[in-house]
């Protein structure tokens, strides 16, 4: 994987607009007048499955490294959720609202939201 496949480096032309059947991105409205915990409720129902899939995969990936890392996952599930209370408003409440509506562990959702910082590890 670390060896480049050396594709021909050309500057593309005629790629725009891309085929909507593969490139379409939906647009939704989030109403900031709603309390933070309710802003993502409707979308949570719609996107519960793909969100759950990525969180489940990350746990599986970690355990494939070492089953001993189950302790780390337990720590995330039991303790990391508390970090939501320390996040600046309204973000902590928005994350809690999504966790409630999707039934995904709050700690796992916090991890997903701070993944940028974690990834620098």
């Amino acid at each position: 994987l670390l060896v480049r496949t050396e594709p021909e480096q050309v500057c593309e032309n005629g790629k725009y607009p891309p085929d909507p059947s593969t490139s379409f991105v939906p647009t939704y409205v989030v109403n900031l007048d709603l309390p933070p915990s309710q802003r993502w409720q409707e979308l949570s129902r719609k996107y519960q499955k793909p969100l759950s899939a990525i969180v489940t995969y990350i746990k599986k990936f970690v355990l494939e490294f070492s089953p001993k890392l189950q302790k780390l996952i337990d720590l995330i599930d039991n303790k990391l959720g508390l970090v939501a209370d320390s996040l600046p408003e309204p973000y902590g409440e928005e994350i809690k609202g999504i966790a409630n509506a999707t039934n995904i562990e709050l700690g796992e959702l916090v991890l997903y939201n701070i993944f940028y910082e974690v990834f620098t590890l």
Binding site: Q9, K15, T27, Y57, P88, Y91
Partner: protein
Amino acid sequence: CTSIVGEDSNGKMYHARNLDFGLFLGWDLKNDTWIISELLRPLIMNINYTKGGELKYKTVTFFGFVGLITGVKPNAFSVSVNERFNANGGYIGLFEWFLNINRKQAWTTLVARDCFENDDMDFNHVVKTLANTPLIAPVYYIIAGPVKQQGAIVTRDRAKAVDVWLLGSNNTWFIAETNYDHWKNPLIIDDRITPCNRCMNKLGKEKMSFEGLFNVLSSKPVLNKLTVYSALIEPKTGRLETYIQYCPTPCDPF
């Protein structure tokens, strides 16, 4: 990631980005894809944040992620966030936060969204805020404004900016950032900036447009196996177009 800000020959500002994510988090041997990148694509969405029934700002996000990695506030500014790897990385800030040693530092994507939540922000305020707010992790902030030459790339350490690169310096009509400090050479196995700059120069100021930028973002290795979406932004009008991206084999893994 790759972010570009620039202007056309009439001074109209553009901001574009590729979001690349999923490196080393599992490779699907059967399909030649990064597993996380595949799992992220169905979660990509544009969000129009409204208040009092009026549009306040737009972002591109993954469902469940409440921070800001790509966004535009019409006729005010646009921001994209690129990862920066540094010895003084995010793990130090994370431990300081978790152990409550120092919480006077901001989460990289939350402080970016704060800029959009704040009604008083314009391009210059955003550059200043994102350059000076202490952060949990190092990062690159790429910022554009609605007015000619309002473009900046802020290279951040955790404490402060190590560099603010402004559009127009040395007569530049565009500036681009991948995941390396712009004054250093990128890793030889991950040089996306040279082809990006080459394609932008070939495009030229006269042909700067959504179409031209999308072609640059679709050129390998700017487009690679980690690229999940391309976003095109016009800060003046707030026009935002996002497209899911794939890079069929043969294509660089990153």
